[in-house]
């Protein structure tokens, strides 16, 4: 082998080994990096009560940030951070997280709970889709593959009218949730968390 061929082979191997692996030049990566302390690398939270941001629709991400910043969603942690995200560039961060692949949740949902949830999920499907995929055009979130404890906590907040007060888009859901026992809300969360 000549020197040039050896060099070409080694260069090709090196590029092949690293192409697509480094994140440095990915749009939004540098700005999103501090979120990973709680939301996991690339927005794939490994903590049951912390939402996965990977694969979240940009419009819903943006709405969530606006709601936290304005206090329509109450969180001591997210209220200041939502303001930080707004100044940093919410569109860029929304696009970054939307482009990340949502990894399956680490914890295995209780199979019996998930089965009970599946049986009771009919009303949810009318807005969130048959597979919980959401509806981007209507800013209805994807709930499939989301962390179970986070989903359950949000359902409890909606039920108690402690999230998004006065928001007409969720009036119907809140009314429906009032009729559902808390344990059954946990079943729904377990079911949707387990969907891919």
């Amino acid at each position: 082998m000549t020197w040039a061929v050896v060099a070409a082979v080694v260069v090709a191997l090196a590029l092949g080994a690293t192409a697509g692996v480094g994140r440095a030049e990915e749009p939004g990566y540098a700005k999103a990096v501090t979120c990973s302390a709680c939301h996991g690398f690339g927005g794939n939270s490994r903590v049951e009560a912390v939402p996965i941001l990977a694969g979240m629709a940009p419009a819903y991400f943006k709405k969530a940030i606006e709601d936290y910043a304005a206090g329509r969603r109450v969180s001591a942690e997210m209220e200041p951070f939502a303001k930080q995200v707004t100044l940093l560039g919410v569109d860029e961060l929304a696009a970054f997280f939307a482009a990340q692949r949502r990894a399956p949740v680490a914890s295995r949902p209780d199979r019996d709970a998930a089965e009970r949830g599946r049986a009771a999920a009919g009303p949810c499907a009318s807005c969130h889709g048959a597979q919980g995929q959401g509806d981007q055009a209507k800013v209805i979130p994807r709930i499939a593959g989301q962390q179970a404890a986070y989903l359950r906590n949000q359902l409890l907040l909606f039920k108690a009218d402690k999230r998004s007060p006065g928001d007409e888009a969720v009036t119907k859901m809140k009314a429906a949730l009032k009729e559902i026992p808390d344990a059954a809300l946990a079943d729904l969360a377990a079911y949707y968390s387990g969907l891919r």
Binding site: V10, G22, E25, V33, V50, E77, P80
Partner: protein, 422 residues
């Protein structure tokens, strides 16, 4: 690396290790594209494997795996300071806070359990043992060291008077002393003047010691000698939490001047002497010794001033400093901040090595404090970058302490430990 001879190039290419191939391949690219030596010799050395350093090492590799990263950390394990006050009260075991560095190795970080004994910023080299390690960019995460000479008698009493301010054997030993203390005894805890690692940490520790004493030694007392004029962080929240602990005697503006382990006495700068059964002196602090040796500290010889966007030292180019050792940013010396700095600095270093502009990204902070065995509270800080400087947008405190925030604290810890080491 750009100056590799043909023989060296072939030798490197012939190795099976992917790292060697990668480095050699880049050298080839550089030669072909005619890049200068500075952009093609790419080794980042990280000094210190704590919250800032371990995070930085991992995130350089995540941003650009063609960069060689060497992490120098003498300790074989990482022990989390956050949550270590719970070891004193027996609510957690030290094992639950102890992790290995295998995760970093999986990211291709070359973890060497050796100490950097000197840094030569001018020649861009770090001394390790008998050898020298060259770098293109250096990230120093030295943590803190103690100014023992500011308290008379403290340096000579290090085997008996514990700080437990670097989680590890001292944490376990202080817990043992607390648990062995007689009921009716006096535990003295001294808080150093600002700036020190973890502003709310001493006050969380006060909660944990008081909670333990209340439950197990109801006749015992905790006397706090605080060098500061008031509780340094979350003052109103801690005052509210301490309502549950009448066994706390808190004395502000009581700076520790002298320790006498023979007589089991400490003396303040007012000349007041307090007798103790167990003492915990959290000493005055400065940046870790290596930062002083490398002349990365300011005129006060204590802390390192850095650029707010790149964390490059204002004193030495190509050397960056992250974590508790830094000064000048309006941020607490907290684990979350060190983690954020590690990531932002890693991305800045990767951009600088590639000749790209550096994204201006502010850090963020959450800081949870446990007030008993099952409740916690938090302070949250958000920032922006304005004219190249980090500026605080908002500081928010939780309304009080609760089991909900304890759950948040646990979730944060699991997540951030994975972010640092996983």
């Amino acid at each position: 690396m750009a100056r590799l001879t043909r023989r060296e190039f072939l030798a490197a290419g012939g190795k099976s290790a992917a790292g060697a191939l990668t480095v050699a391949g880049l050298a080839g690219c550089a030669a072909m594209r005619g890049e200068t030596e500075s952009t093609s010799r790419r080794r980042v050395v990280v000094v210190g494997g704590g919250w800032g350093g371990a995070t930085a090492a991992k995130y350089v590799r995540l941003a650009d795996p063609t960069i060689e990263v060497v992490l120098l950390e003498p300790s074989a394990t990482f022990v989390s300071c956050p949550f270590s006050n719970l070891v004193l009260s027996g609510v957690r075991g030290i094992g639950q806070l102890t992790f290995g560095y295998e995760g970093l190795r999986k990211h291709g970080v070359k973890v060497r359990h050796e100490a950097a004994t000197a840094i030569e910023p001018d020649t861009r080299r770090v001394r390790v043992g008998d050898g020298m390690l060259a770098y293109d960019r250096l990230i120093v995460a030295p943590g803190v060291d103690f100014l023992l000479d500011q308290v008379e008698g403290l340096a000579a009493a290090q085997d008996r008077i514990l700080h437990a301010w670097k989680a590890g054997p001292q944490t376990v030993e202080l817990a043992r002393q607390l648990h062995a203390m007689p009921d009716g005894g006096v535990f003295v805890l001294t808080v150093p003047p600002v700036a020190y690692r973890c502003p709310p940490g001493p006050y969380e520790r006060i909660c944990q010691v008081a909670w333990y004493l209340k439950a197990h030694k109801p006749r015992a007392k905790l006397i706090v000698l605080d060098a500061n004029q008031n509780i340094v962080s979350k003052a109103a929240l801690f005052r509210a939490a301490w309502q549950a602990y009448p066994n706390i005697e808190y004395r502000a503006s009581n700076k520790l001047a002298r320790v006498d382990p023979g007589a089991r006495e400490v003396t303040t700068d007012f000349g007041d002497t307090v007798r103790y059964d167990v003492v915990n002196v959290i000493p005055p602090q400065r940046a870790g010794a290596i930062a002083v040796q490398a002349d990365l500290v300011g005129a006060d010889k204590r802390w390192c001033e850095v650029d707010h966007v790149t964390y490059e030292s204002v004193k030495h180019r190509n050397a960056h400093v992250v974590g508790d050792a830094t000064i000048g940013l309006p941020v607490p010396k907290s684990g979350t901040i060190a983690n954020a700095m590690g990531k932002i600095c890693a991305n800045a270093v990767v951009s600088l090595l590639a000749g790209r502009p550096v994204a201006a990204v502010p850090p963020l902070n959450t800081c949870y404090s446990w007030v008993n065995d099952r409740e916690a509270m938090a302070v949250v800080n958000a920032y922006k970058i304005e004219n190249g400087k980090v500026v605080q947008i908002e500081q928010k405190l939780t309304a009080g302490h609760s089991t909900l925030y304890a759950q948040h604290a646990e979730g944060w810890a699991r997540s951030v430990w994975t972010d640092i080491l996983g």
